[in-house]
Point group: C2
Chain length 256, copies 2
């Protein structure tokens, strides 16, 4: 039987991970290792300065898992390096409440947990539900289950992770699966300036309107049109297509 | 005169940012906005749950800057969205104490600060000194200055950031500049298990040995051979070269 490490960034008590655990348990032996509270926008932070604590959590029949007082990437590291023997066959991160599409996936703890799986050499997938209201987690969990079964046949290249986004609609209304590119869409944020009770200024990041990338083959457009978006993303950040254009920066030591 | 936003992840009181500020001030108007304490391995985390505080810091003649109680990416966001008018021409992050090469750049606050510059549409560079001992910050700062001058001529593609690593040797012993790829080298970490004074377990991430990628055109090999390594890295995480290989995942809705 396949062994799956399941994590997320909404925390071990989130509904999305509970529903996903139930679905994946029908095809795999599932171990949950997740943050002890919400760690959205944790990016790929890891904890070096402080130690980590691990507690066992019984989600009342839903699952028995490990809560870590660290980031999503910490959870995957400690799960694979210390808690799970043997190593899992697959790392799945989600179901995230909210889309992980466009430029903003760089902040996502959900996506970073999956990228950490790839760093450690395990095929990995992040799965997000593209809504913040009335989430149909069971639909996304069903899609994740189907993709996990497919990943038993299809070998992912070692540096590649699947970033999956599911439209929030009934399963029968999903139009299919599209392999997409990350769009350049992003939130145009601002900072509120406020005053504390002592009159001193503080600032708070505030989501603004969405700057939309109209590229038709993108993650965002696929979801908007009712398709499950599957974007292959890589832990190799090199912009290979720009290597030639930058040759002009090469120089001899004497030019420095 | 060019306007540069200078930040780092070692914090506003670090030596590396002080030396870099002094060098860049000879070619640009420099504004320093940096974390109020060390935030190494912060990755691309941003602060959503809490507000941010900004304090002015006078580094006794070295520079006058802004300290932020957030991550490196927070610093760049608040600098560009709120503190600096007009926006800077360039974001420079560093000089980091320690190399940022190989797979581990995914954890780097230094690199993430530069990537945040690109998210906000500003040409950006991360600069790191490949040592942890007896750092020659002035050499790295001199290299950064040269590259900043070159970036006035060469237009970086909007999604691309320069990740620069400088060998820790005298300027006259640098062999030149090489445009490189990110290597797959990484630290093989483990977790120490210890007991607190009450006898309860805690875990601490521990650097292990380095798994080295022998690819000759890589960041790590260039630095080892005495060259400044310049790797173009991208905020577009799509693995374009694997899009075709994954077409088998596409399906119609009825297959879900």
């Amino acid at each position: 039987m396949m062994r799956i490490l399941l994590t997320n960034d909404d925390g071990i008590y989130a509904k999305g991970i509970e529903v996903l655990a139930a679905h994946l348990r029908t095809i795999a032996q599932v171990t949950v290792v997740a943050p002890d509270h919400e760690r959205s926008a944790a990016g790929h932070a890891i904890t070096l300065w402080d130690p980590l604590r691990v507690s066992t959590v019984d989600r009342n029949g839903a699952f028995f898992g490990y809560a870590v007082d660290g980031t999503p990437a910490d959870c995957v590291k400690i799960a694979i390096q210390r808690l799970l023997k043997p190593k899992p066959d697959l790392v799945v991160s989600g179901v995230n409440l909210g889309p992980n599409t466009g430029t903003n996936i760089i902040y996502s703890g959900t996506v970073s947990a999956a990228l950490e799986g790839a760093v450690l050499g395990i095929p990995s997938m992040a799965i997000s539900l593209a809504t913040f209201r009335q989430p149909r987690f069971a639909v996304a969990a069903r899609v994740a289950r189907t993709l996990c079964l497919q990943l038993r046949q299809l070998r992912l290249p070692p540096e590649v992770v699947l970033n999956v986004n599911v439209p929030n609609r009934p399963l029968t209304q999903l139009k299919g699966v599209r392999v997409t590119c990350q769009s350049r869409s992003r939130w145009l944020e601002t900072f509120d300036q406020r005053r504390d009770p002592r009159g001193r200024a503080y600032y708070w990041l505030k989501g603004g309107r969405r700057q939309r990338d109209p590229a038709p083959d993108s993650d965002e457009q696929a979801v908007r049109r009712g398709y499950v978006s599957v974007t292959p993303i890589s832990i190799d950040l090199t912009s290979h297509k720009h290597l030639d254009a930058l040759q002009g920066l090469q120089s001899k030591g004497s030019a420095l």
